[in-house]
Structure formats: C-alpha cells, structure tokens
C-alpha cells in the first residue's frame, strides 16, 4: 500500500481504533445485558436511602395500586418446578411446552386456572389479557401462599444443590441465598401489604426486602 493515499481523491482516515472501540463496547454491553420481558404491571415504588441492591436470586410479590398481586421468581428452574407442584395441587394440567415457556415469563398476575391460556397468549397481547385480577389470597383459595411456599422451597433446594455440587467439586461457591422481596406502588394502601406480610409470617418467613427507588442520605454529605 502506498504511504500517500491522497491522489487528489478523498482523504482516507484510519478508522481502526474507532472500530476497535466500538466492538469492544458492543461486546461489553452484549455480555452484561440481561434480557427480561416487560412486567405485566407498572409499579412506581417510593424512594428510600436503602443501599442494599435487590439480590439476583429472589422471589418477588408485586402489588399494584389497586392491591392486585403479581408473583415472580427470578430463577427459571425454581419457577418451572413451582408450577409443576401448583399444577399437581390444583389439578390443572399444563403441557411440557407451557411449563417450559412459563420459566421465561416475568411475574404473573392471573389465577392458576387461567394460567395455561395466559401462557399461550402471544407476548404482545399479554398486557391486555383478561381476566388479570391478580393472584387470589382469600382463605379458601390462597394461591399466593402456595406459590410462595412452593417457589421458596424449590429455590432453596436449587441453591442447596448448587452449593453441594460446588463443595464436592471443591469449587468456590458464590451464589446468593434466595430472598423474598415485596415491590409495591407508592399509592398502594398499606393494608394490602399487611395481608401479604401475614401470608409470609404464617409460612415462617420474617425477613423481606422492600424494593424502593434510590434517594440520597442527608447524613452522608
């Protein structure tokens, strides 16, 4: 290649560093990105000075403005296992494909009997799925309790299995224990949260992470 490319034409620019950088950034963002589907409900949590980030491994109950409940597990394996047990308990059959698909869904806010239909609904139409009345919590039909107890048991089991496996292979184990989180809209009446807390305490779970937005601590200036 000649050292002087300008033969009266357009001056050529060495784009190599720029391209290098661009690809570096693409790689970085691609590897750090975690994809998730849109939540079925928008919730605007209040802000607090809490500095604890939400653990990756969590079981989350979301409450919207009207007190509708949504349930989600971050771990897909625990989620599918919980669905199997729910399906067994409530005698509602799910196909293998539906169970597999369920693992990738964000939180759900439909009764178990509507869940097969909900899973089969294409993603773009899930937001407007009817009836989406939240997970029932009444004493006769306490599906939330079952979701939490099955989901919690499965998540802990997966955590323990992974721990055992790492131990036997003499590897360092880093995963976090599953935690219970409550995400709630600012305008939600607290009595709805109280009901959920009651469900948790009856299951002997006393510690939660309340999800909040970030706010500066006035003491740390």
């Amino acid at each position: 290649m000649s050292k002087k490319p300008s033969k009266g034409g357009a001056p050529s620019l060495d784009m190599t560093p720029m391209v290098d950088l661009a690809f570096l950034l693409v790689t970085f963002f691609m590897l750090t990105a975690s994809f998730r589907m849109a939540e079925p409900v928008t919730v605007d949590p209040p802000s607090s000075i809490g500095q604890i980030t939400l653990p990756d491994n969590h079981i989350m109950v979301t409450v919207d403005k009207d007190g509708k409940l949504f349930f989600g597990i971050s771990n897909a394996a625990a989620k599918t296992a919980a669905l199997r047990r729910m399906s067994e308990k409530y005698k509602i059959p799910f196909t293998e494909e539906q169970i597999k698909k369920f693992g990738g869904l964000p939180s759900i806010g439909v009764e178990l009997k509507d869940l097969p239909k909900y899973i089969d609904t294409p993603e773009s139409k899930r937001m407007t799925f009817k009836p989406q009345n939240g997970i029932p919590l009444d004493s006769l039909n306490n599906q939330l309790r079952d979701w939490i107890s099955f989901g919690g048991a499965e998540a802990v089991k997966i955590y323990n299995d992974a721990k055992e496996k790492a131990k036997s292979a003499n590897q360092e184990f880093k995963a976090e224990k599953p935690r219970y989180a409550i995400k709630c809209d600012s305008k939600t009446k607290y009595i709805f949260v109280q009901d959920i807390v009651e469900v948790f305490t009856k299951l002997k779970i006393y510690q939660f992470n309340l999800i909040t937005g970030l706010e500066a601590n006035p003491n740390e200036n």
């Binding site: 290649m1 720029m18 391209v19 950034l25 607090s48 939400l54 600012s186 607290y190 909040t212």
Partner: protein, 215 residues
Amino acid sequence: MAEIAEGGSGGGHKGGKKRAKKQSTRIDMTPMVDLAFLLLTFFVLTSTFSKPKSMELTFPVEPPPGSPPPPAVKNGITMLLTKDDRIFYYEGEFRPKDDEKGPKTKLAELNFAPSSLHKYLADKNKWAQDEIQKLNDRLKKKEIPDTTHKRLVKEIKANKIAPTILIKTDDQATYKNVVDVIDELNINLVGKYVVVDILKPEYDLIQENLKGVQP
C-alpha cells in the same frame, strides 16, 4: 484491522511465503462499522445500569397462642399512620381512659415535612446520634477498627435509652407513608422499630382525631 491487510508486505520476510504484493487487500469496512454502531446503540439504550435498591425489614414472629402478653416497651413511641399523609403519635403506653397511672392517651400530630417528623425523631434519638457520631470520629482517626465500630453502633442502637418506635397503620395509610417513616427512622439512626397491627381503641382514637372531635 486495516493493519492486517498492510502487514502482508512486512510478513513476507519472516514467513517466506510469496504473496502478490501489488494487489490491494484493503476491504471496505463501512457496513461492518455501521452494524457495530447499530448494535452498540441498541445495547446502550436497552441496558439498565441501576439495579433496584431495597430496604431490609424484619417482621416480628407471631407469638404462639396462649403465651403471656409481651411486656410493655420502655421509651416506646407509637406512630399511627392514616390518610392524607398524616401521622399521629403518642408516647408510652396506651391508656383507653383516665386511671391511677395517668390520664387518657392523647394523640399529637406530625407530618412528613423535615421540620416535623425528622426534627422530632432527631430530638428523641439525640443521645444515640451523638454517641454514634463520637464513634464515627474515632473510626476516622483510626482509634478503633471498623468491626468494633460496627459492633458498638449496634449496641448503642439497641440501648435501653434509645426510643423504640411502633409503626401502626389504619386502612387509609399508603405504602409510601410506611416506607417514608421507616426511611426517616433509618436516617435518624433509630435501631429499634417494628411495624405491627393497629389495635381497635387506637383506630377509634384516630377516627376521633380525624373528625376533629376532641373528647
């Protein structure tokens, strides 16, 4: 990357491979760069950096049925949250009516303005705040290791002199109110607080206060 194409002329010496030197190997990288930037833009815009923050909260264990009622809390302050972001509070034990120990409980009011709730809590918890400030200073001067600092702060927060806050809500209070109060307690370094169910007489008292009827 363009260098790779140029390297062909220099690499000929070492490898011993003869290559056509005259032919240009420069390729047009524009589409690749376009794609790279397209992807870059996409990932930059879709990535979420801040993970949601959270606040840890522990609820009390339900006492087994038939167990004796818990002893009264010392230095207790009960905050009653109700509609329109209003907070009522009383100090000490709840007294439904006048008796030999003291007069009937009267509610005072606070709100979420910094001059109200924040100031009230700062005054109540002044002792603990001062003690913790002293410890912070000692930590800064490296007089105590941070593990000791942590332990001492915990001890101060659990001290009997420090107030214990009970948060109770009626059916009108919002989640935001509860989080704000807990947040304010954390800011003011109050270590002992709990969210509990409201009692019927307390609820009635709030309703009386809301109506403005002072008995």
